[in-house]
Symmetry: C2
């Protein structure tokens, strides 16, 4: 084994792919959590269809077979290019010869970070569990109000952002809200449930072709989702979203619009775009630093058309493997071939037996796209166990419409707060 | 349907069994959480072997088929026997004609409630998740310290209480600690892990016969657990347990000793025993109140030998069905036959292929008892889905020793606190 010390920051798709491909060097993988999350299915945890452990797996277990890798659960506070070290929150600094920055992104509130508490986003498992709790509490609360007053207050869910996450969340919530929660809450009227999907641009799923965008919008409307295009959110409050003068009441607001890269990237002192992504050279390193790479959502890497590559799992995974290959082979800067993204297509699901798929010139929707979506997602899940569990849950849900994970760990809403304060005082 | 209004407090084994048997009256089931927990497997969630949703199921879904039942997620603050109503934390009072109190129990710290923050117990799903987090953090922290200092600090888990929960936790932690965490933490030495099970009485599993108690102690010792009998904990501190002058260092402390019934019972103004259980008449009602019943862990109900019946699921379930039957048939007080507990035996598991079973005169241990234990627990789980999931997890774990749910939802230990403060500010 070469004595090169490689440090990878982030155990998402990019960082983990790189780690799995590095066999001949000394690797330290640092992540804030102890697990890798299969992010494309995170919305199913947020809507209670899957359990956290169905789509997450400990990083240490995934990398158990590679004795050259050390996993560190910690927060990276800064990167020092000169000293070539990263400083951590809970332990001493770690030196590197080669650095792979794969820190992903968080949601961007376009300068209004105060909106986050009313409109949480969905990037981590903790986010997903919080969204699930808020959704389930909203139904319980509506039921309580109905019992107390006899009136039927509306249940309004507003999802901001019409990309894949927003579309998938809106579809899943419409389905689970009506088909699964309906029978559990006989006192609530199904038409009390409104789901509004707000998108600032002229169409949903802007990464897809316009015909599939329309198909997705039609499917969602058919499922009872109100799709509002060309609609800019101007303010977010507790219980409402403002669109100019209009105020949409919202029991729950979910933010699925805009990304900003990790604030850690600023400490790299490399040029960043407006969303915080680092401009990388064609070999994914940063200028003048052939052994510092930035990949995945953290990188601004132009694709064939010149536009930056989208923040998708396949991009991050291909970049991770590409970078790992150069490190393993110790390829000097001048001999590197530029990274080329091989686009194998895009998929987004809308509901049961509804999805859209775009694979080169092939545009598919409906049942076929949905089966394809299920197959691809099962295939890419890490580990036999998770594949079996997710497959079982989907078949079960398909047959019964009883999603498996509608648990509020917390107790009643008020004592929830107390509980939280009681724990680890 | 009769117009009798039955209120059930608590959706555990007792309350849920009663609810499932009540078809001809108007029922309101009140629980703090939205789910029923299969408590005998809670220790497997606490030790990361099972996921929360494997052993819990929404109460509303379980009771969906019964249109005579309303489920309310709320906290009962008090019971008024005179007005015949219960007051709730988040909604108005609910009137009853018949009341079933099935509020279970919490841990008792023998007057030292301040010990709870250092030595949490295991009664609810929130408890199980907290214990799991503490266990996983302890390993991460030991790994960090090892990297920082190069020394091997011991990892000490101390479990207080040698009843079924304590025995099952100790066995599971020994197994998971060595077999599952070992390969994930190559820098930690397996003999750094110490698990101490402290019991005040002269033997483990006091509910079982002495031969099985010895068998359990032998099995645990064989698995590397230090069993200390006749050992009274005199104080609990952060990081240590005192036994008289002796101080046992403890990375984690888990409390599995002693129960106290819900504080709500005091508002019933009926006679209670020293652990807070209400003394019930032979028909499980309270004196002078033939239509107020107390069942399960909340009741002090003498068995054949005069000693109070133990806090076991079968006792609570039989009591729930017995009470429901009297309510359905509207049996007047003087015509009721006393409740008789049919003891079908007891089981406790110690580890993979290790368990003890006592079924009347039959005492079994080892593999046969373990297979019996698995079968019985799968059978009693509610719902096909949960049975399949748990069976799959157990087979998977049996074959691979990779328990499925080692997830820290929270991020690094420090940001964990921040996260908690950030959520729902």
């Amino acid at each position: 084994m070469r004595s090169t010390r490689v440090v990878i920051i982030g155990g998402g798709f990019g960082g983990l792919s790189a780690a799995l491909s590095l066999r001949d060097v000394d690797v330290t993988l640092i992540d804030r959590t102890n697990h890798h999350v299969f992010q494309p299915l995170l919305y199913q945890v947020a809507t209670a269809a899957l359990s956290p452990s169905d789509i997450a797996w400990p990083l240490r277990t995934i990398l158990r077979g590679q004795r050259n890798i050390r996993v560190v659960m910690d927060d990276v506070l800064s990167i020092d290019r000169v000293v070539r070290s990263v400083t951590l929150r809970n332990s001493g600094p770690i030196l590197f010869d080669v650095l792979i920055v794969a820190t992903g992104s968080r949601h961007s509130y376009f300068g209004h970070d105060e909106w986050e508490s009313f409109a949480p986003g969905l990037k981590t498992m903790a986010d997903a569990i919080r969204l699930r709790e808020r959704m389930l509490f909203a139904f319980e609360e509506a039921d309580r109000r109905q019992a107390a007053t006899g009136t039927h207050d509306p249940l309004n869910f507003v999802i901001v952002g019409g990309g894949p996450t927003g579309v998938e969340l809106a579809g899943a919530m419409a389905e689970i809200g009506r088909k699964a929660m309906g029978p559990d809450f006989p006192t609530l009227r199904l038409n009390d449930l409104s789901i509004v999907l707000v998108e600032g641009g002229p169409r949903l799923l802007p990464g897809f072709s316009p015909d599939l965008s329309s198909k997705a919008a039609d499917d969602l409307s058919h499922m009872g989702v109100t799709v509002r295009l060309n609609t800019e959110v101007t303010a977010v409050h507790a219980g409402a979203v403002s669109i100019g003068q209009e105020r949409i009441p919202a029991t729950n607001i979910i933010w699925a619009a805009g990304n900003k890269a990790s604030p850690l990237l600023a400490t790299l002192k490399a040029r960043q775009d407006s969303t915080g992504r680092v401009y990388v050279t064609p070999d994914l390193s940063i200028p003048d630093e052939p052994w510092i790479f930035v990949i995945g959502d953290a990188a601004h890497c132009p694709g064939k058309d010149g536009a930056p590559l989208p923040g998708l799992a396949p991009v991050a995974m291909q970049q991770g493997r590409y970078v790992a290959d150069m490190i393993e082979k110790d390829v000097p800067s001048e001999q590197r071939r530029p990274f080329v993204y091989r686009d194998r297509g895009m998929l987004a699901t809308i509901g049961r037996a509804r999805a859209v798929a775009e694979i080169g010139p092939l545009h598919v929707s409906g049942l076929i796209a949905w089966v394809l979506w299920c197959t691809v997602h099962i295939f890419f899940l890490i580990g036999f166990r998770n594949r079996v569990r997710v497959m079982f849950e989907w078949i079960w849900y398909y047959l019964t419409f009883k999603p498996g994970a509608r648990l509020l760990y917390a107790q009643t809403q008020t004592s929830h707060e107390e509980e939280r304060q009681r724990v680890d005082p």
